[in-house]
Amino acid sequence: MRILIAGMLWLLAADDLSWVEKRVDDWQPRPSERKFDQIGWLRDIRAALALGKQSNRPVFLFTHDGRMAIGRC
């Protein structure tokens, strides 16, 4: 009987996975972490130089290692 109850309790506990969903929601990117997306980026220096020349605007060039778009840098 004890084994049966213990088994049922484990199954109930196993099914209470609301904390997983909450963490997944809580850990999504925040607006403060998405400021990078408020800028229109080109991924090609040649295209940026052409656009700079065409529009007579300066070019902001950011160089880095890794993948900035996904924060893996």
Binding site: G7, L11, A14, D15, L17, W19, V20, E21, R23, V24, D26, W27, Q28, P29, E33, R34, F36, D37, Q38, I39, G40, W41, L42, D44, I45, R46, L49, L51, G52, K53, S55, N56, R57, P58, V59, F60, L61, F62, T63, H64, D65, G66, R67, M68, A69, I70, G71, R72, C73
Partner: protein, 247 residues
């Protein structure tokens, strides 16, 4: 900048465009580096630069304002479309696309870059995705092992922001993912991982230790996938990983 090296993937013209700017900056005795900000004239001539360590909001704003003043730039609308940079990749019909976010969480602050989360998209074919699910005939409460290859395809991205994002340099020391059918069409996943992940591209002793729990809902295919670390550490610091299906 890996893409701009001699073995990099960008076209030669693109590499040359970068080298021209880099050498012009050097000639002008501007600061230079691989992780760097440069401000160029409309003709592509560097007029200012900032080392990333100094490129905070105030410094960047001041540098841009100075460039606007020097060049007499007129205000105007953005010339490039503003859109999310981390877009869900294209995938085939029936593919399972998992979106992963790895971030610093309350705990010990050490051992990795804390400022921004790292994100990844992992694509499973329909057949691969099914390997998260219980074998036919599994009773409610019954357990099974998820295929190591399938588990690792996801778990190898369980690391926080570092200088190295080449997962082929990870060394997995222990991995397991156990599934339990907890209700009709609902599975619990319990994963553990111990993995070396060099902070830089050179092997070191930095390790991930992670325990994660997932919940998967399915019928003929996976309809919902959620996973979060219960606890995870890397290189002396505490981090968390969350995964959800986006397709």
């Amino acid at each position: 900048m890996e893409d701009y090296g001699s073995k990099g993937t960008v076209p030669d013209d693109e590499k040359k465009a970068y080298q021209k700017i880099y050498h012009a900056a050097l000639a002008k005795k501007l600061s230079t580096g691989t992780v760097h900000v440069y401000v160029l004239t409309p003709d592509g001539d560097p007029i200012d630069s900032i080392h990333v360590a100094h490129a905070g909001t105030a410094k960047v704003t001041a540098t841009l304002k100075a460039a606007i003043e020097t060049l007499g730039t007129k205000e105007g609308k953005p010339l490039v479309e503003i859109k999310p940079q981390a877009a869900t990749p294209r995938a085939g019909d029936g593919d399972l696309v998992l979106y992963l976010i790895a971030r610093a969480v309350p705990g010990k602050t050490a051992g990795f870059w804390q400022e921004l989360p790292g994100e990844d998209f992992i694509i499973y074919s329909r057949e691969e995705g099914k390997r998260f699910l219980p074998p036919a005939g599994t009773a409610i409460g019954g357990g099974y092992e998820v295929d190591r290859e399938v588990a690792l395809k996801l778990l190898t991205y369980f690391y926080p922001s570092t200088e190295n994002n080449d997962v082929s340099k990870n060394v997995v020391e222990q991995v397991s993912m156990k599934g339990t059918l907890i209700a009709e069409g609902r599975v619990r996943l319990d994963a553990t991982l111990r993995m070396k992940h060099p902070f830089y591209h050179k092997m070191d002793e930095a390790r991930v230790d992670a325990v994660a729990v997932g919940v998967v809902e399915f019928d003929s295919a996976i309809r919902k996938f959620r996973m979060a670390t219960e606890k995870a550490t890397y290189n002396g610091g505490t981090f968390g990983v969350a995964v959800k299906e986006v397709r």
